[in-house]
């Protein structure tokens, strides 16, 4: 029988993976809107993000609530240690949200579009360094964060941030192509190719650095049965990544690029979770050290558990309402 802290670890992983898959595309498109391009192309990027970013961002708020409720000690320590990246992320999200609103209402569209892009970029950078900072390891003494304000900054976290940025670009393009705004991106397949390659290189470097940071991860790479599963997942990720790059070079399977990207994200999330479990804050604290009381975990499971599929269902309903080709001219119809 699988225990309550593990169930919540899995739910948390799922929520974070959903967040990355869904909002990753929005943030990637936001970053792309900063690049030089025609007004029409930029406006399509932003309109594509319009109806969905708010609901997608919800998954970050939900994951935050889950971490707080299920693992309060970890919540405090992680956010305490990652003060600066988390604040960068928050400022990014604030600026993105408001820039989008003000753009729709105001006249200085170009200014708000820039702010929208800057907000997205800040959010990406904050997320990259936050994830990097956690994987990098957090110093804990007596249940308190005991490191310095800049501990999150390291070679590992730089590679991860670069990987996060570039993977968001890839998934952003993939979503754009799926929404059939393909005519504006056709010449951009070379950009997807570059972004995908950099993503691959950055995460491969991070994968090599991680066992050097944490001996327990190295242990898992060289001993059974974890070795087979980790190597198996890596090979799978590699294969799907090659499929992605093949499709990009051959310019084929356009509609499926997004699904391929999502598959890679899910596999990568599974591999990361598998490599670090049961540590929530490697190498100091496990899910068992940081979890709430059993009463709370059970109460949350019955209270929140059944709701997650419902939240997912209305997310999908929303995607359905705004699916490709349906009355796109009304997208700015405030």
């Amino acid at each position: 029988m699988i225990d309550l802290p593990t169930i919540w670890f899995l739910i948390l992983g799922l929520e974070l993976a959903l967040y990355v898959i869904l909002d990753g595309a929005d943030l990637g498109l936001g970053f792309l809107s900063l690049l030089p391009q025609s007004e029409k192309a930029r406006s399509i990027l932003i309109q594509t993000v319009g109806p969905i970013w708010d609901a997608n961002e919800t998954w970050l708020v939900i994951a935050g609530g889950t971490l707080f409720g299920a693992f309060p000690l970890a919540y405090g320590i992680i956010l305490n240690a990652l003060y600066i990246p988390v604040m960068i992320l928050l400022f990014g999200l604030i600026i993105r949200a408001t820039a989008f609103e003000f753009r729709a209402m105001g006249e200085k569209k170009r200014f708000w579009e820039t702010m929208f892009g800057v907000g997205s970029l800040l959010a990406i950078v904050g997320q990259g360094f936050a994830v990097g900072g956690v994987l990098n390891g957090i110093q804990v003494v007596d249940g308190h964060f005991s490191g310095g304000s800049f501990d999150w900054f390291s070679a590992l976290s730089i590679f991860i941030t670069a990987g996060v940025l570039m993977s968001y670009v890839v998934v952003g393009y993939a979503y754009l192509i799926k929404r059939r705004h393909f005519e504006y991106t056709h010449e951009s397949f070379s950009r997807i190719f570059i972004a995908a390659t950099v993503t691959f290189g950055a995460f491969a470097s991070a994968t090599i650095l991680l066992p050097q940071e944490h001996p327990f991860v190295l242990e898992r790479w060289i001993t059974e049965p974890t070795r087979t599963i980790l190597i198996g997942l890596s090979i799978l990720i590699g294969l799907v990544s090659f499929l992605l790059i093949y499709c990009v070079i051959k310019k084929t399977l356009h509609r499926h690029l997004h699904s391929i990207c999502m598959t890679i994200f899910v596999l990568a999330a599974a591999a990361t979770a598998y490599a670090v479990y049961p540590y929530l804050i490697p190498p100091a604290l496990t899910v068992y050290d940081t979890s709430s009381s059993a009463v709370t975990l059970r109460f949350m499971l019955w209270g929140i558990g059944p709701l997650l599929p419902i939240v997912l269902a209305y997310n999908f309903y929303m995607y359905h309402v705004f699916r490709a080709g349906r009355n796109d001219e009304h997208l700015e119809d405030y």
Partner: protein, 460 residues
């Protein structure tokens, strides 16, 4: 300045800014729901135009509200890690409920509400409007439960420095949660109504507008005025009820917000100060103007009920003299506004009864200007109420269980916290200015009288 002081300021600052927007988005979502419902019932296009118009302001407030709400959730971890660890068992869980149940509901249906006018049927659209209102209200409910539990923590035990829940139903439905939620929900509705009434009055006072424009805002004015008839007296009643409750559960807070230093001897009543100023050394008031026995009457509903004074508590266990003074004046501002809005409602209803609302606006310029002046009052009263609630809770973050100073994160560096505080403040000032500017523009342009509603509506 130490990280504790700056962190407290940062949380107060970001929370005080954030609360402005849910006030409007909760109120406006309900207002729009009734307008949209009326449209589907009657097929009258004027209701449709009301929904479309007010939704522009709603979108603006919702965006700023979401944006400024997310930092609050994460600040518990970044700045108050020790609090998160100690109280997370209940508090974090309830916040999780808020984000999963309420926030997600609102956010998902907002997309459909805003962009879906021509993509979903009118019934589905009305449903998404309702879900936004339900989500916003649920969100307020869970937040008020979490905060009320900090005021009246029950259903828990302390084990190894952690506050562990023993009974969830007791903890959720603590003595403070239901009244506090209602008081806040009605504050949202009342603030929004007077905001709408003020905007309508401004629109009606404008010269050189079309008759259509005037009729539109007069309709909205009358609609909102009708609801204030119920809301303003109800809020005064709820306020009295929550004051009574605080006196029972948090006597230190009452003593602070009344600057009441010495317990009244048995057989005599405690006076209620209209204004007061504490002695610089603390321990007594330098001067006050007071009504005899009134405090006993208000808090115990008896002329000689005992009201404990601040001096009964060690200075380290009660709000500081500065804190007490702030709550004293905040409380009076809130109460005064509650009665002022009630009075204004009566005046409005009188004018309506006399048929003066339909007369030329220029004949009653002073009357209409009053509503413009009243526009910020609901916001000020809410902020003042929260000041009483939160400053009055000090020095505790969880009442009698955890001190605010013991809730702080470790190793916070003053320059980092100060920088983020300044950035939040600057961003929020900019948002405030932009909100006023965009609202002004929306009001100036007025509703779109040309656009036709989606055709699939019954009755059209």
């Amino acid at each position: 300045m130490d990280p504790l002081t700056i962190s407290r300021f940062q949380f107060g600052d970001t929370a005080a800014f954030h609360i402005l927007w849910p006030l409007l988005s909760i109120g406006l979502s309900l207002f729009m729901f009734f307008m949209e419902w009326a449209w589907l019932r009657t097929g009258d296009v004027r209701y449709y135009r009301q929904v479309r118009f007010w939704s522009k302001i709603f979108i603006l407030t919702f965006g700023i509200g979401t944006a400024s709400g997310i930092p609050l959730e994460f600040e518990f971890g970044t700045n108050w890690a020790a609090f998160s660890n100690a109280a997370g068992d209940f508090f974090g869980n309830i916040l999780g409920f808020e984000s999963t149940v309420a926030f997600a509901l609102e956010a998902a249906f907002l997309g459909i509400f805003v962009f879906g006018w021509k993509r979903v049927s009118p019934r589905v659209h009305l449903f998404s409007n309702a879900m936004i209102a339900v989500g916003a209200t649920l969100s307020a409910f869970w937040i008020m439960v979490a905060n009320s539990w900090m005021q009246a923590p029950v259903g828990v035990v302390v084990e190894n420095g952690k506050i562990i829940v023993t009974d969830y139903m007791v903890a959720i439905f603590n003595s403070s949660s239901f009244i506090s939620f209602l008081h806040m929900e009605i504050a949202c509705v009342e603030t929004t109504l007077f905001f709408i009434l003020g905007l309508c009055a401004w629109a009606l006072l404008r010269t050189r507008t079309t008759d259509e424009y005037k009729r539109f805002f007069l309709q909205a004015f009358k609609f909102a005025l009708t609801i204030t008839l119920v809301v303003t007296p109800l809020q005064i009643g709820l306020g009295d009820l929550s004051g009574y409750l605080i006196a029972e559960k948090q006597p230190e807070k009452v003593a602070a917000m009344e600057l009441h230093w010495d317990t009244n001897p048995a057989g005599t009543g405690a006076p209620w100060s209209i204004i007061a100023w504490p002695d610089s050394a603390g321990g007594r008031n330098a001067f006050d103007i007071a009504i005899p026995d009134a405090l006993s009457l208000l808090t115990t509903h008896s002329f000689s009920g005992e009201v404990p004074g601040l001096n009964d508590y060690a200075p380290s266990d009660r709000p500081t003299t500065l804190g007490a003074t702030i709550t004293f004046y905040s409380f009076r501002i809130m109460v005064a506004i509650g009665f002022a809005l009630f009075g204004l409602m009566l005046l409005g209803v009188w004018y309506h009864y006399k048929g003066r609302l339909d007369e030329a606006v220029s004949d009653h310029r002073f009357f209409w200007k009053l509503w413009i002046f009243a526009m910020p009052l609901g916001f000020i009263a809410t902020e003042a109420g929260w000041m009483v609630r939160e400053i009055g809770r000090q020095p505790w973050v969880v009442y009698h269980l955890l001190r605010t100073s013991d809730g702080l994160s470790s190793g916070l560096s003053t320059p980092v916290v100060l920088t983020t505080t300044v950035l939040f403040t600057l961003l929020y000032i900019a948002f405030g200015v932009l909100f006023v500017y965009f609202t002004y523009r929306i009001m100036k342009n007025g509703p779109d009288f040309v656009e036709l509603p989606p055709s699939r509506v019954p009755g059209i």
